[in-house]
Assembly symmetry: none
DNA sequence: GTGGTCTAGACCACT
DNA sequence: GTGGTCTAGACCACG
């Protein structure tokens, strides 16, 4: 269910967090669902268990999952809402990027087009 | 003319590159203009000369600037065009970010608004 | 596998870049192969780690290699193609040199012979 | 008669030496001809007199000119022969370059073509 | 004075 | 352990 790109500059643990984020927001993973075990996911992705643990800790910090010692790690009831809130906060990143590109001579329309392309490409899937 | 935020996670040399990029694109620095000397900028920004040197080397690699040992560092004739081209290439980053945010439940309109805010805030200055 | 000539006027980091270029083009290093670590190569060649780092950064900039912090530095999938493309671009250097030598009274045949000597000496190895 | 490119990476004094080399080899300057004065050439090219002096010193070292204190600087009788000899020595540079390019996947034919292009472009002028 | 290279030694985040 | 950034201080060639 998860795929990681070891060649990417994005830290592996962050890739895992992002993908869980996406799966929950898309409704593929639902509140109450159990996450794979740290050791299981470690072998499945051929990734160091420490890295998986770091991702899970981050997911817990963000409130997307609740770890129950001895039982496992479960998607939190309000995960989707939290993710949506976090998404809105990240609009600031887009604002910063847009400002930078605008200062480099990219037009408002070109940026709107890029956003539309992204949205449409996602709708198709 | 340049300002550095030492607390930022963005490397100092990258901050310098970005700011020169902006100044050239805005026409504040023009082709043929001489950049501040490595040592001069070093003391002005209280940054190690090697860090400035790294920024200047990067600017040269990108073709924004031509460094002439013993003479100085000058804005290249086609710097603005190169910067614009690089800006268009970076639209891919915006597409990736937009896709991610969309998957987190952010709407197309909210993203368009973010772009518009960025453009308008820059126009005001 | 790499050898450095500290007495040469060619910067050490450029020597490293050139040699890796050669090894990859010759198929001795293949896509996906891991480069020696910065520190490891540093002690092996008795060169400062910063110098190695500079070489690796340049290799990354040229797309021959992808550096993954915390994991290592790996030969890029399309490294050989990029190197070949760069080689063709550098034919311009040969043209400039040939023109200069011709103006100094060196004949076309003498230059062809020099090229042939170089090619043959490389084939023998 | 001489033209220098301040933006070039090639040192100004070397540009001057090369151009005098070319003019003599082409027969435009002949043995016995007087070189421009250091001060005169300095203002004509808008170049620091020290730089001109350095070029003249190098020309003298190579035996292309003989400086007569108080009278001036004159093209040596055997200048053309010396230049031709130097040209042949520089075939080594071409050999090194050819070997490098060959190792980067450039073919023998492509290099021969580059040499021919250079020779032909010079013949046309 | 200029840019460019190198060494030495430190710190950071990530695996 | 890895790569990446930064500081401090030195040396070089060029103008």
């Amino acid at each position: 269910m998860l795929q990681i790109d070891v060649m990417s500059r994005i830290p592996v643990y962050e890739q895992i967090v992002s993908q869980v984020e996406r799966l929950v927001a898309a409704g593929i993973m639902s509140p109450g669902d159990q996450m794979p075990s740290v050791r299981g996911l470690s072998v499945e992705l051929s990734v160091n268990p420490n890295t998986i643990q770091k991702a899970y800790t981050e997911l817990d910090n963000r409130g997307y999952v609740t770890s129950v010692p001895g039982k496992g790690c479960f998607i939190a009831p309000d995960a989707a809402a939290l993710i949506n809130r976090r998404g809105k906060q990240r609009l600031g990143e887009m604002e910063v990027l847009a400002k930078t590109l605008y200062q480099m001579g990219v037009t408002r329309e070109e940026m709107h087009d890029a956003v539309d392309r992204a949205v449409d490409s996602d709708k198709k899937l």
